[in-house]
Structures are given as structure tokens and as C-alpha cells.
């Protein structure tokens, strides 16, 4: 899967779980401030991403993840 296809998949999970518009899911968007996502929302998003990409993300890996870019790099590193 190329990077663009992976980001599209990442974006569609984010849109579905956080009920935001696709154009809001930009690399510098912050989950809390820009996407109105609290900690439980992020847990649900990670679940959806694990499912979509067939990967496992440990809770400890999410520490410090605040932006879409950070989250996407974490996912990409596992592909």
C-alpha cells in the first residue's frame, strides 16, 4: 500500500469514528482542538485503525500523539 492510499484509509476511519469532514483531516489537525476528540474517541479510532490496517497499537505508543500526522506516522511505521 502506498503512502497516499494508506492516508486515504486512515482518513476514512477518522471521518467515520470522529464524524468529521474529510477536509478536516489534515496532517497538522490536532485531535483535541480541531477534531473534537476526547481520550475515549481516540481509543475507538485506534481500534478502527487496527482493524483497517490489520495492525496492533499498544496503548503506550499513543503517548504524546496529538496530531493527525503523528498518528499517521505511527500507523505507517507498522505497515
Amino acid at each position: 500500500m502506498d503512502n497516499e492510499a494508506a492516508f486515504d484509509k486512515f482518513k476514512s476511519c477518522t471521518v467515520e469514528v470522529l464524524q468529521v469532514k474529510p477536509e478536516q483531516v489534515t496532517p497538522d489537525a490536532r485531535f483535541a482542538d480541531d477534531l473534537d476528540a476526547d481520550s475515549l474517541d481516540l481509543v475507538e479510532l485506534v481500534m478502527a485503525l487496527e482493524e483497517a490496517f490489520d495492525i496492533t497499537v499498544d496503548e503506550s505508543e499513543l503517548e504524546g500523539v496529538e496530531t493527525v500526522e503523528q498518528a499517521f506516522s505511527l500507523i505507517s511505521s507498522k505497515l
Partner: protein, 405 residues
Amino acid sequence: MLTGWGPSGPDGGTPGRRVAVTGLGVVSNAGIGPERFWEGLCRPPEADERERRVSGFDASAWFGPKELRRVDRSTQFAVAAAEMALADAGEVDPDPARAGVVMGTGVGGLSTLEAQIEILHDQGPRRVSPFLIPMMMANRGAAAISMRLGWRGPCETTVTACAAGTHGIANAARLVATGRCQAVIGGGAEAAITPIGMAGFTNMTALSSSGISRPFDRDRDGFVLGEGAGALVLEDWDRAVSRGARIYAELAGAASTADAHDIVAPSPGGAGAAACMELALADAGLPAVAVSHINAHGTSTPLNDAAEAEAITKVFGTPGPPVTSIKGVTGHSLGAAGAVEAVAAVLTIVRRQIPPTAGLVNLDPEIHLDVVSGSPREWVPGPLVSNSFGFGGHNGSLVLLPPDQ
């Protein structure tokens, strides 16, 4: 309504502040909103509705798309009924620290729990929703209402099975009567028509095998499962008058007793139910003879209706005041039922009519009550009693008065 008892019981107790009913909200298969609900109560239900589901309920009127996925159907009902009631009450505008919410429910978010247990089995624990707990917990409905309104007084949930809606309203009213709160939303909500709920009630032989809800009928064979929510805005009477509120009724008395007998069967002769009605009347300072109408629990189960009838006869004599059960239309909405029926009782005051007991064709010869059936009956103004009884031996009764009495 009393806020303290005398040395020998409610007689000589301390009268509390008067409690006004100023807003009504209801979500029911009979109709959403008091107008349509009332029309539904006065119209016989379609035959063969084994489940009395609420249709035409659009939760997106109350919740955004993201929020909607994170609240169980029971909470959606609770919020809808509460906000409907509040809008109906006009400018209540209480001090938020003295505004409360007390809701009743039997089980809380059962459909959410059931769906997540399936996910646990099929996909493992890592796929169980992080929203499971806040969606399924029984207190979510009340919590959602208080959060949305910013009401910061007592926010509690009463869990007494099928008596919860009545107890929720009673507990809410007491908060007004003591002066702790200026306004409280009291009610109940339930959405438990799910495969596991149906299987459980079916196997305990509580559900009607014929699929017909026919309270007090000689051929009644169990209840038909329903769902929904009811809510009342209860306000300090003097405050309601001074803000020019439209007062539908006075909540003049309430009581709660336990059978302490059996987990599902009522106590012999309906003793617990009779004690509850007597206590509610004492709370209101009224004699049984004054009562003009009883909105019965009347589930259509053989045991409940017989015990309730016996209890009513014991307290009110034969034939006693006209009795109705709206469960012929609504089925049994469990923890919502008492609240939905309290809305019906208040509407009887407003409309001056008693809705008929749908489904009743042949009154059980063992039941010596004047049960309203066929078509609505004109109501002779006076105090009303609304009853609820729940598995666990919980009994609840409310006493409502027309506002001009």
C-alpha cells in the same frame, strides 16, 4: 406531600412545599409528545403487535451524528422526553445548583451491552467499545439530561424494575417538597426490546403467548414488551405561580413500599400494593373516598392484575373509582411505564377524560373493579392515583390533583 412524619406515622407529619407539574414529555409507541400520545391512547392498537416498539422516533432531533453513536436508545428516549417536558414548561430557569434530575430505569443500555458482548465473543476484548460502560450504565439517562441542561443539583437514577418510573417521579417531587430544589425533572426511560430481553422475559413466562395486551381480562396471559420514556417538570408551586407557569396538576403525594415476599410474584392479596396506595394517600392528606380515578399498573399478567385488583378493592371498596390501564396500548415499558402513565394521568386532568383499557373484552369475574374500556370516559374531577409495581416486590404510587383543588 410530606417532608417529615409524625410520631405515629404520616398523620401529623410535616407538610412540604407544594409541587407543581408544569411540563410533560413522552416517547411512546402510542405517540411521541403529549398530543399524539393521547390520541394513541384513545385509539385501539393494531392487532398482533407482539412488541410495542416506538416508531418514527428521530433521535437526530436531539443528538448530533457523533453523539448519536455514543448514546444507547434508552438514553435517547430519556433525553427526548426530558427536553420535551422542559420546553413544554416554558421559562423554568431555576438556579442550576437547585435544579435536579431523577430518572428511573429497569436495566439501562441493554441493547448496547448485548451488541458489545457479541463483539467480545466474535472479535475479542480489544474490540469492545470504550463507550460501552458510559452507554450501558443505568444512570446515563439522568446524567445526560443534567449535563445538557447544566443542572447541578441532585442527579440520580432509581432502579426498581417496573416501578422505577413512578419512583423516579416520587423521588424528584420530594426534592421539591423539601425545598432542596426549585425544579426537578422526574421520569423514567427504557429500551429493552432486544433478543436477550425478549428471551429472558419469555422464558420466565411473563410475556403474553398470544401477543395481546389485555389488562384485567379473564383471558389475559402475560404482558407485551414495550419501550419509551416519560418525564415531568416538577416545580416549587409558589415559584411556578409567580413566574406565571401553566400548572397542569399538583403532585400531592407519593409512596414506596416493598412486598418483602417474592422476587417476581406479588404478595398475597396485593398487601404491599395496598399499603403503598394507603401511604400515598396519607402523604397527600386525602381519604380513599376522594379519589376519582386510578391509572393502574395493569400489566395483563394473571398475577399482577389479580393482586392489584384485590389491593384496589381493599383500599377503595367495590367497585371503587374508575380504573384504567394504558398498557393495552403501550404494552409494558418496564422502568419507563410509571412515568409514561404519570403523563397519561396528568393528561386525564387536562382533557377531563379517562382513556380506555384497550384489549379488555371480558372483565375477569374475579376482578371487582370499574375498569374503563371501549371508549374514553368523562372524568369527574378529583384526586388521581397512579400505580407501578416491579419485580423485586417494589411498589410505587403517586397522587395527583387537578390544579384548582
